[in-house]
C-alpha cells in the first residue's frame, strides 16, 4: 500500500472517479436525444445478455462510490479466482504417453501452456509443428529470474491454423546454456531468436546468423536481464565520452 502514495500513477486515478460519477447522469441525458433518432437495432438485445454476468455487479458501486475503500475489497475478492489448473486434452495425453514426466500441462486464465524439460525441447517443438499442426510460430521470448538456479524461462507462443488453438511451450535454461535453434522448424524463429539473444544473451545452437538485431554490434550487455542497470550504462558512457561523472 505505500506504493499507492509514492506511485505517480495515483493522481490520475483520483481524477477518474469524478467523470465516472458524472457519467451515469450526463450521458443518459445525451443519449435520450442522440440515440433517439437512431433506429433501435436488433443487435442491442442480443448483446446485453452476453455481458451482464461480468458487468452489472461491479459498475454500480464504482459509479456511486468513487472513494477508495470500496475498490479495495474488490481486489481480494477477485484475486483467488485465477488459479492454474491441469490442462487435459487428447494431444497432451499423447505427448505425456511418449515423453512422460518431463512435461507438465497447465491452464491459466483459459490459456494453455506446457512446461517441458530442457532436454526435450527441439524434439517436442518438432512434434508440435509436424504432427500436431502448430504451423505458426507467433513469438519466442524469455524471462529472466536471477535468483533461480536455471535463470531463464524460454517461451514459444505457437498457433495452429487448422485447430485454431494457441499454446505456449515453456522451458527453463541456465545462464550460458545454448538451446537448439528452431529456425529449421519455423523460418519465423530467425529474427525472434536473434532478439532473444540481443536482449538476454541466450545463444541458439545452429542458428544461421546469431548476432544482435536491435542494438548495435558493439553494445555491452543484454538489457532485458534483470541485473542490467540502465544508469550504470549511461554513466559509463558519459564518463568515457564527456569526461563527467554522471549524466543524470
Amino acid at each position: 500500500m505505500p506504493d499507492e502514495i509514492k506511485s505517480p500513477s495515483s493522481p490520475p486515478p483520483e481524477g477518474d472517479p469524478k467523470p465516472t460519477a458524472d457519467k451515469p447522469a450526463a450521458p443518459s441525458g445525451v443519449k435520450a436525444t442522440a440515440s433517439g433518432p437512431v433506429p433501435a437495432d436488433v443487435k442491442t438485445p442480443s448483446e446485453k445478455p452476453d455481458s451482464p454476468p461480468a458487468a452489472p455487479v461491479p459498475p454500480k458501486p464504482a459509479a456511486t462510490a468513487p472513494a477508495t475503500p470500496p475498490a479495495k475489497p474488490a481486489a481480494p475478492a477477485k484475486a483467488p479466482v485465477p488459479t492454474p489448473v491441469p490442462w487435459d486434452s487428447p494431444m497432451i495425453a499423447k505427448l505425456k504417453g511418449s515423453y512422460g514426466s518431463g512435461l507438465e500441462a497447465v491452464t491459466y486464465l483459459g490459456q494453455n501452456y506446457m512446461v517441458v524439460d530442457r532436454s526435450m525441447i527441439p524434439e517436442i517443438l518438432y512434434v508440435l509443428r509436424n504432427e500436431e499442426q502448430f504451423d505458426y510460430c507467433v513469438d519466442i521470448t524469455a524471462v529472466h529470474y536471477p535468483q533461480r538456479e536455471k535463470q531463464f524461462d524460454l517461451i514459444w507462443v505457437l498457433y495452429s491454423y487448422a485447430r485454431n488453438e494457441r499454446i505456449r511451450v515453456k522451458t527453463q535454461i541456465a545462464d550460458g546454456d545454448s538451446p537448439a535453434s528452431s529456425v529449421p522448424i519455423w523460418a519465423a524463429a530467425n529474427w525472434l531468436e536473434r532478439e532473444v539473444f540481443d536482449m538476454f544473451g541466450i545463444k541458439f545452437e545452429g542458428h544461421p546468423d546469431m548476432k544482435r538485431i536491435l542494438l548495435p554490434e558493439g553494445w555491452k550487455g543484454h538489457p532485458l536481464r534483470k541485473d542490467y542497470g540502465i544508469l550504470q550504462q549511461d554513466n559509463e558512457w558519459v564518463q568515457i565520452n564527456l569526461g563527467i561523472e554522471s549524466g543524470q
Partner: protein
Amino acid sequence: MTDHTTLSHLELETPEKPFLDANELVINMGPQHPATHGVLRVILRLDGEKVLGLECVIGYLHRGVEKIGEHRTYTMFNPYVDRMDYVAAVSNGLGYCETVEKLLNVEAPPRAQHVRVILTELNRIASHQLWLGTHALDIGAITPLFYTFRDREEILKIYEKYCGARLTTHAFRIGGLQYETYNGFEREVNNFLTFFRPKIDEYEELLTTNRIWVERTRNVGRISAEDCIALGVSGPVLRASGVKWDLRKAQPYANYKNFEFDIPIGENGDTYDRYLVRMAEMRQSVRIIEQAVAALPEGPIIAKVPKVMKPPAGEVYHSIEAPKGELGYFIVSDGSTQPYRVRVRPPSFVNLQALDLMCRGQLVADVIAVIGTLDIVLGEVDR
C-alpha cells in the same frame, strides 16, 4: 522466386556471359531514405538491377519499451504502447489494456467495448489511409497522398474531440474508458461514415485500374501462403496470399463477435492483391463501425478495477488484429504493482522478415514497392 518477375526482357538481357563482366554489387539503402518509412537500412545484393538478396538492419528507433515496462506500474506503461505503432496507437492501447484486464480477470463493460471497437476500427481506416497515401507516393502517384490525408484528418478530429490527442491517443484505460463519449459522438461518427464511403471509391478510381499502378504492383513481391505461414507473417499480407484468417473472427476479442463483417482475401499474394485487400478492409471497417454506433448501449464505461493494480502472479499472452497484423502482449506478473516482464509481439517486426524473400528476383525499384506494401512502422519494428 525468379519466375515471378514480370519484366522478363531484363532477364533476357543478362545472358550466361554478361556484356560487361559486372560482379555482384552490394549497395546500401537507408537508413535515411524517404521511402523506407522511418529509419530502415537495407543492404542489397544486386546483379545489375536485379535483387539477389537483402539484409535488413534495424534498431535505429529502439527505445527499450519492454525494459521501460518493467520499471513502470501497469497504469503508467499504458501511454508508452501508443508510441510503438504510432499510426495505430488506439490498437496498441486496446491490446495492452485487454491483456492487463485478462491478468486482473476483469472485463470492460459493454458500452466501453463498443466505443473501443468504434475507435479501433476508425484507427484501422486511418492506418490504411496513411499506408495507401505513402505507398502510392513511393511508387510515383502523388495525388492519393493528398486525398487520404485530407480524409484521415476527419478521423483525427474525432479522436481529438474524444480524448484531446490526435496521434498518440491513450484512448483506453485498463478496465474500460476514462472519458464518456462527447455530445454528438454518434452523429459525428455516422457523418464520417457517410462522408468516407464514396471516398474509398475515389481512391479506387485513382488506382485500381490505373495502368501504371497495375504494372508497378501486379506480380511484384509475391509471397505464397505457405511462405507466409512459415515466416509468421500475419495481417493483410497473409490474407492477400489467400489465407482467410483474422483474429477478430478466429479468436474474437473485445466484442467483435457481435458484428457482421467479411474477411477480404486475395489470390496471388502480390502487391496489387495486398492493395485490394486493404481497400476492402476499409469497407469492412465502415460496416463494423456502422453496426457498433447503431447498437451503442448505455451503461458504465469502466469496470471496477483497483486503483493500485496488483494482478495476481501469473503470465498471459493476448493478441489482437492490429491494422498490420497480429499484435500480441505477453505479460508476466509477480503480484506487484509493476509487470515483471512485458513482451510485445509486433506485427511489423515479424512481417519485415519476409522482405528478403519477397524481393528476390525483383528490381531495385520494386524493393520500394514491397517495403510500402508490407506496411511497416519502424517505431514498432524497433520498439
